[in-house]
């Protein structure tokens, strides 16, 4: 049995929403990171689905770039977090209140 492409798109939309909501409501920086990854992977799923539906390999090429850039982003983000962890234990976004929001 083969699934209609729109189901994959719905799944991607759901994953993207979970990621976006998670990023906005969770306060733990590492969990926020994972939510960003969820969002980016939802994008990848959408791209692959469209590439399949349109029979166009271009969408999959895009996925490669998204993957690599996401890795670079995560490395930089973890670097920033490590810098903060070295100064204090625990990492929640609410601890960051030196600057007036």
């Amino acid at each position: 049995m083969s699934l209609d492409g729109s189901w994959y798109l719905c799944l991607a939309a759901a994953v993207f929403t979970i990621g976006a909501v998670g990023l906005l409501v969770r306060r733990n920086v590492l969990v926020m990171f994972m939510c960003v990854e969820l969002m980016l992977n939802a994008v990848n799923l959408t791209l692959v689905t469209f590439a399949r539906m349109l029979d166009d390999i271009g969408g999959q090429a895009l996925v490669f770039f998204v993957l690599v850039v996401a890795a670079a982003e995560v490395v930089v983000g973890l670097g920033i977090i490590v810098a903060i962890f070295r100064r204090r234990v625990g990492a929640t976004a609410d601890d960051l209140h030196l600057l007036r929001g």
Partner: protein, 130 residues
């Protein structure tokens, strides 16, 4: 209500924004339904034991936020970086013969720039396990 329907029917772009609205509403409804159903369905019997984090059946030691040595992170970060770059090398390797000299030169440039990153890490002493 009728006025609203006519407004939406009349104006082109408002209708498009309806999509955005429906999308947003569906998103909120979905998360709300999941969290709401969970809190309605699950029995609530609070016991102190249940709030202890699970650590393979053993009594947990310390808090959940214990810190590892910084060098683990450095190696982890380096690994993530270089491992993901291979995603470009695999498809290139499959079609190497077709891509010819042009493809080879491009990949050499790409790997040379990556190697500079490794050179940087080496000079900064990241690769030494102290």
């Amino acid at each position: 209500m009728k006025a609203l329907t006519t407004l939406i029917a009349m104006s082109g772009f408002l209708r498009e924004y309806l999509t955005v609205l429906v999308f947003g509403a569906a998103a909120v409804a979905m998360v709300g339904a999941m969290l709401g159903a969970g809190s309605l369905l699950r029995p609530k019997r609070a016991q102190l034991q249940k709030y202890i984090s699970y650590e393979s059946g053993v009594d947990p030691v310390g808090t959940g936020w214990s810190q590892s040595q910084i060098r683990y992170y450095l190696f982890g970060l380096l690994f993530v970086m270089f491992e993901v770059e291979t995603v470009f090398i695999f498809p290139w390797a499959v079609r190497l013969e077709d891509l010819g000299l042009f493809g080879l030169v491009e990949m050499v440039v790409f790997i040379a720039i990556l190697a500079l990153g490794l050179l940087y890490a080496w000079r900064k002493g990241v690769l030494r396990w102290m």
